[in-house]
């Protein structure tokens, strides 16, 4: 690997000099177009012992995650790498993130109508139902494809993409090869006569196949598994409708218990938007659609595709205790949302306008029937189950009703009030045998602007629930001095827990300093065990007590 890297950099340096051709003027122009940029982030935590909250013992005392990106661009050419450091990784991150290395490096060249990237690349076909290579450092998610990525625009409005490679697997590569392509046609851009029409249409299609060796003595496992899909978007004035469908051929894997049933996913979205009013309605149906480049991989490892979750997420601490995690084996979900602003100077609007929003999300199981009398549902080595496409399964997984009211009264006061009703099926989402949780939460978020630069914000939250951990109360006071300083004190109190030893306070004191593109934050306190999710992809974070230092910057 050391030699490969040296060779890689030698190529880059060689390119620099061959392009410059040694001519002083050429060299000056070359250097003038050169640009080096990058970013880095460091998160370290010192862990205290805290058996009350069930914090696991950390023998190393201090854990840290760090990464740094460095990118070089010169006109059509760019190259870069990311260095990652886990000595050892923070609690809640997969322990296979261990050590230091350069798991991401690329070189890219743009010429005429095509762009070629060699090395690691990220990309998405449509909404990601067939293929999505993406990364989120806070989630510990990175399925970049190491190989080649080609993008061509042969004609205005037509984009063709091709990818071929192996996926990143911590500091190694997954065993399977992923290869595929995507074509997108924006009809209005393709034909001059249609350029300015109000009715806009675009269509697309993708095909991805993975290859993995198979050696099972009992089952005839498919070595090549293909997933393909089509999508279309129609927009007219204030309306937009988007539909996408993906189909996967038989793909027996650990996630689906080695069944030979094919899979499919459907996503439909409708939007109506005009000044002051936004309406959104969406539905998703997922049926055996986990698509990984290793049939034995589990969790978030080696996903080739991405199933978006329609369950609305929130950053408020108490309602985010119950967040939905996507169920790739089968789920039927929907979201309806309306956002409205009462105009400024109207009766309900007041001087600055008033904003309300209503969101409802719901997830149920899909319909599953036995393939025949003798075969139970999901039996290994069989076709698994039959599913009536339009029937919604009886079991409810998740429900979230949210109402938000937001109003700026004057230069001094701003108020946001939220109400959440959340139903959470812990058995399906977390794998815990327990009754479904029904919770009601109220949030009051009040900002008081002391003067131009000093501002005080308080957040009071209360969750009422009979099941699970019972009721919670939360209070936060945040003082900010714009634009650089943040101070906050907060406490999350589980006063309603049926077990009296678990009625604990999760307190936290934090301060942060931001200057330019740099932010440094220090946080001391207790963190509740829970699930941290981004976009339906979740990781479990164990309880912790200690001091956290985070530094983030770019240059």
């Amino acid at each position: 690997m050391k030699h490969k890297l040296t060779f890689f950099f030698a190529i880059i340096i060689g390119c620099f000099f061959s392009v410059s051709q040694g001519r002083a003027q050429g060299l000056e122009k070359f250097l003038r177009n050169s640009q080096v940029s990058g970013n880095f982030q460091f998160d370290g935590m010192y862990y205290n012992k805290d058996s009350l909250i069930g914090a696991p013992d950390v023998p190393q005392k201090v854990l840290m995650n760090a990464f740094a990106n460095i990118n070089y661009t010169n006109g059509p050419f760019s190259a870069g790498f990311r260095f990652e450091n886990y000595l050892y990784a923070l609690q809640g991150f997969d322990p296979r993130f261990k050590g230091i290395g350069i798991p991401y490096r690329y070189a890219s060249f743009e010429k005429d109508k095509f762009t070629i990237t060699i090395g690691n690349s990220y990309d998405q076909f449509g909404s990601g139902l067939v293929y999505r290579a993406w990364q989120d450092a806070s989630l510990g998610y990175d399925n970049s494809l190491d190989g080649i990525n080609i993008k061509v625009n042969p004609w205005k409005g037509i984009t063709l993409k091709g990818v071929w490679g192996q996926q990143r697997f911590y500091f190694e590569k997954g065993p399977g090869i992923v290869r595929g392509g995507d074509a997108e046609f924006v009809i209005n851009d393709m034909f001059k006569k249609l350029n300015d029409k109000a009715l806009r249409v675009s269509i697309g299609g993708s095909f991805v196949s993975k290859y993995q060796e198979a050696d099972d003595p009992v089952y005839n496992l498919p070595k090549n598994v293909a997933t393909y899909g089509g999508r279309g978007t129609i927009s007219y004035k204030n309306f937009m409708i988007n539909g996408e469908y993906a189909h996967k051929i038989n793909d027996p894997s650990t996630v689906n218990n080695r069944i030979y049933k094919s899979g499919n996913a459907t996503l439909v979205q409708l939007t109506y938007a005009q000044k002051g009013l936004g309406l959104y309605l969406a539905a998703v149906r997922t049926d055996n659609m986990s698509f990984k480049s290793d049939r034995d991989a589990e969790g978030n490892d080696l996903n080739i595709n991405y199933i978006p979750s329609l369950a609305k997420q929130t950053t408020y601490s108490l309602p985010s205790i119950y967040t939905y995690g996507t169920q790739p084996n089968g789920e039927f979900g929907m979201q309806a949302q309306g956002i409205y602003t009462f105009k400024k100077k109207s009766v309900l609007g007041g001087k600055y306008g008033t904003n309300i929003s209503l969101t409802y999300s719901r997830y149920n199981a899909i319909n599953k029937k036995q393939v025949d009398e003798d075969t139970p549902i999901d039996s290994t080595g069989t076709l698994g189950y039959k599913s009536d496409y339009f029937k919604i399964g009886k079991e409810a997984y998740y429900e979230n009703f949210n109402f938000e009211f937001s109003k700026k009264f004057n230069k001094t006061f701003k108020l946001v009030v939220d109400y959440f009703y959340i139903m959470y099926n812990a058995k399906v989402i977390e794998g815990h045998e327990m009754p479904n949780i029904h919770s009601h939460t109220v949030v009051v978020d009040l900002t008081f602007n002391i003067n131009e630069k000093h501002s005080l914000r308080t957040e009071l939250q209360h969750m009422y629930a009979k099941q699970g951990e019972g009721s919670w109360a939360y209070a936060l006071v945040e003082y900010t001095i714009a634009p650089k300083w943040f101070f906050s004190v907060s406490d999350m109190y589980n006063y309603g827990n049926s077990i009296s030893e678990k009625r604990l306070h999760y307190y936290s004191v934090a301060t942060a300093f931001a200057i330019g593109s740099t932010r440094i934050a220090l946080n001391y306190g207790r963190q509740r065990a829970g699930i941290f999710c981004v976009g339906g992809v979740c990781r479990y974070v164990p309880a912790a007590n200690g001091l956290t230092l985070s530094i983030s910057s770019s240059f």
């Binding site: 938007a273 991405y306 997420q313």
Partner: protein, 191 residues
Amino acid sequence: MVNLPIVKTRPMKPTLCLSIIFLCCIATVFGQNEPGTNPVGLKKLPSVEVKTLDNKTFNTKDISNNGKPIIISFWATWCKPCVNELTTIADVYDDWKEETGVKLIAISIDDSKTSGNVSPLVNGKSWDYEVYLDVNSDLRRAMNVNLIPHTFVLNGNNEIVWQHTSFSQGSELQLIDIVRKVAKGETLPTE
């Protein structure tokens, strides 16, 4: 039958990684908000494809404001401080436009889970900004954005002259101050 080798990345020597970290720190300390001291000039806005709210493809190299300053703000529907920043600026945006001719371009990094919620939110809140969708974080990566909100100010040549991460009530006053200076062609103070 070919067994594909699993490529192992051997751990790098500690001195090499320490020097890389050291170089990054040096680059950050000296690379902060000092236009003109960068030996190869100011950084230009990268050329990356994003989507408009009505699903048109748009290349960021076509961003222009006729030589007047531009604010680029990275945000997401799930990021409360980002929505606060854009709501706070929306209250004074007309005044800012009249005074400096500035244009604010809001880049949403919402992925396909929430990108459908962007248009209803932008319209529901009556924002007047130019909004683009960066669903797979391509522009975010190209501009080295880690945490959001992250706001950039560009001069008339699409060069980045100032940037700031995080938002609190009152930060917008610093932002318009920078924009006024850029509009007049003045040199910017180091933060």
